[in-house]
């Protein structure tokens, strides 16, 4: 009897002009709504990006790291242990790692100085990460002075700036020859910072760890899987921090949406009565309210998500970088690698658009099902 498509279009057109005539109210509504979506989406993007970075970091990490503890603190490991541990069954490779943190007083950040045996490294030269290059404003071929333990400046030439794969992995890195590391930090010969261990079969790692502790009771083996699990617990969708923060954000949003949307003003109620008396069906009124709610929520959703994307990936999540990372000094222009996850966007969409739409429909449905004779009285 009625061409349905035209009906949808007519009612959509009216919904749009309806929204326009309550401009102030609807703009306020969209702003608050956008803000909520922005905060939630920023958080989701940010945590997801950090998680990715952490995974990449760990992918390059050894299966197990062995530290030595002295008086409950991390202490250098004697190189003599390398041979002994290499002889434990199941151990493929033991590498003594030599590294430390260097505090740069000029720009007030920490660098990670790591020794490398790479033959491509020229004498008295270093390789640096992108973050270091940026904050020190240096490029390939420049010379930079690093202050040694004795206060003397040591000049190094920059042979290479490491390519940007994942900034968390390499951004604050300074690679130099082992002898330069020892000279810079006055690190004694015969000691290493820690030991990196690769096993042929990862399932043997717990046994290997137990044997190491037996051999050297003052050592502390840290398994990669343990670190991974900690990351997962903190960043995971279903457990940990994410769910708590996200849950409370969504909850407060639902309360907001409910509060905003359920209150049909007397004028709106009357208007629904008038429409019904003019021959609108309840379903027409609901369609109108549905369009109104959809226009508001989709506008707010898209704006919020776009703003959050820019915030996280172009402005380095500046709003909560400090709270969550706590090490932003080194990375004044730290950038996460942009990534979007369809699953997350879908979840986000349903968590924000659905509650709002439901919250607008329920009261309209109640109003739309009353007799239209209310329109006759005022």
């Amino acid at each position: 009897m009625r061409p349905p498509l035209q009906r949808y279009r007519n009612i959509l057109d009216f919904a749009l002009s309806s929204l326009l005539r309550r401009k102030g109210r609807n703009l306020a509504l969209i702003s608050v709504y956008t803000l909520v979506v922005f905060v939630i989406a920023s958080l989701v993007f940010f945590v997801q990006a950090l998680k990715r970075e952490a995974h990449e970091l760990l992918a390059q990490a050894p299966d197990m790291v062995v530290q030595r503890m002295v008086a409950g603190r991390h202490d250098p490991v004697p190189l003599a242990q390398v041979e002994a541990i290499r002889n434990i069954r199941g151990v493929d490779e033991v590498q003594a790692r030599l590294w430390g943190y260097y505090y740069d007083p000029v720009f007030g950040g920490n660098l990670t100085v790591l020794a490398t045996e790479d033959a491509a490294l020229a004498p008295d030269a270093i390789w640096i990460g992108q973050g270091v290059a940026r904050s020190m404003r240096v490029k390939e071929g420049d010379l930079i002075p690093l202050r040694g333990y004795d206060g003397q400046s040591n000049l190094f030439s920059i042979q290479k700036v490491l390519p940007e794969s994942s900034e968390l992995v390499s951004s604050d890195l300074v690679l130099m020859a082992p002898k330069d590391v020892r000279a810079l930090f006055h690190f004694p010969e015969g000691l290493a910072t820690d030991l990196a261990i690769q096993a042929g079969n990862p399932r043997e790692l717990p046994t290997i760890a137990a044997k190491i502790v037996e051999l050297y009771p003052d050592s502390r083996p840290i398994l990669k899987t343990e670190i991974l699990r900690t990351y997962e617990a903190v960043f995971d969708w279903r457990g940990g921090l994410m769910v708590v923060v996200l849950g409370s954000a969504v909850l407060s949003f639902i309360i907001f949406a409910w509060d905003k949307a359920t209150g049909l003003s007397a004028e709106e109620r009357k208007e629904i009565g008038v429409l019904k008396s003019l021959g609108w069906e309840s379903s027409d009124v609901l369609l109108l309210k549905f369009w109104e709610g959809t226009v508001i929520s989709v506008t707010a959703f898209l704006t919020g998500v776009l703003l959050a994307y820019a915030h996280v990936f172009f402005f380095s999540a500046s709003l909560f970088e400090h709270a969550l990372k706590g090490w932003s000094v080194l990375f004044p222009r730290f950038r996460l690698i942009p990534a979007l996850d369809g699953y997350q966007l879908t979840v986000l969409f349903f968590l924000t658009v659905l509650p709002y739409t439901a919250a607008t429909l329920v009261p309209s449905w109640r109003a739309a099902t009353v007799d239209p004779d209310a329109a006759m009285r005022s």
């Binding site: 009897m1 009625r2 061409p3 349905p4 498509l5 035209q6 009906r7 007519n10 009612i11 057109d13 009216f14 002009s17 309806s18 005539r21 309550r22 004028e267 009357k270 208007e271 008038v274 429409l275 019904k276 008396s277 003019l278 021959g279 609108w280 069906e281 309840s282 027409d284 007799d371 239209p372 004779d373 329109a375 006759m376 009285r377 005022s378």
Partner: protein, 239 residues
């Protein structure tokens, strides 16, 4: 013809304070004529019109439409009688949309949108071609002297203009029956005369007109074919 038999409307039926606003009304309203309902305030005139206009259902009694609802319900033979009190809601909606045109006492224009949009409101759910209905609406508004106000917001109209917008809106779906509740309550006597002039045109066009009024300009008019007087929900005279 609209035929009412033993129609009762009790508000708050079943509650502690039931109130019978329309009490056992039996009445025949002729088609293509002007019928005026008069009577003191609270006598049940508005209530009776909402029952006839399918905006509320009576508590008991029957209302038949004879040959008036054919546009709304195409499966109906043109002259067939239709008993509306027991119809499902979606048929009532169709009848409200196609058979009746309402002119409310407070006009009930939707604020914040233009005159033209207000007139088009009843056509949105029908899914008719928007250009055709718009042409119809413009023609109607022009014939009512509102050509200059097509795009004005209804908020700024004078009382007489607002009423003519309400009339144009009531007529947009070309209803067989026009229902006007206290149409002259907000008009001065000249505008009231103008209104009656319009009603006479509609009557000539074959519309059935139902008007409630306290106003002698309406119920003493020679246009009125039938004057129904009500008191305390009952019909006390028909002249």
């Amino acid at each position: 013809m609209i035929e009412l038999s033993q129609v009762v409307k009790t508000y708050q039926a079943g509650l502690a304070t039931p109130f019978t606003a329309v009490d056992r009304v039996t009445l025949s309203i002729p088609a293509a004529r002007l019928t005026v309902f008069k009577g003191p305030s609270g006598s049940g005139k508005t209530t009776l019109l909402t029952l006839i206009g399918c905006m509320a259902r009576p508590t008991s009694g029957r209302i038949h439409l004879h040959g008036l609802a054919a546009d709304a319900l195409p499966h109906l033979a043109p002259a067939e009688a239709l008993e509306i009190t027991s119809l499902p809601e979606r048929f009532l909606t169709a009848i409200r949309r196609r058979t009746f045109g309402f002119i409310f006492q407070q006009f009930n224009l939707v604020r914040g949108i233009s005159v033209l949009e207000n007139v088009l409101l009843p056509t949105y759910p029908t899914g008719e071609d928007p250009r055709a209905v718009e042409a119809r609406a413009v023609a109607r508004l022009e014939s009512l002297g509102l050509a200059r106000h097509l795009r004005s917001s209804v908020d700024r109209l004078s009382g007489g203009e607002a009423q003519r917008v309400a009339i144009a809106r009531a007529l947009i779906n070309d209803p067989a029956v026009i229902i006007a509740d206290e149409p002259t309550a907000h008009l001065d006597s000249r505008l009231s005369e103008d209104f009656m002039g319009l009603m006479s045109e509609f009557k000539d066009a074959g519309k059935t007109l139902l008007i409630t009024s306290h106003d002698p300009i309406v119920y003493d008019s020679e246009l009125a074919d039938l004057v129904v007087e009500m008191r305390d929900g009952r019909v006390v005279s028909e002249t």
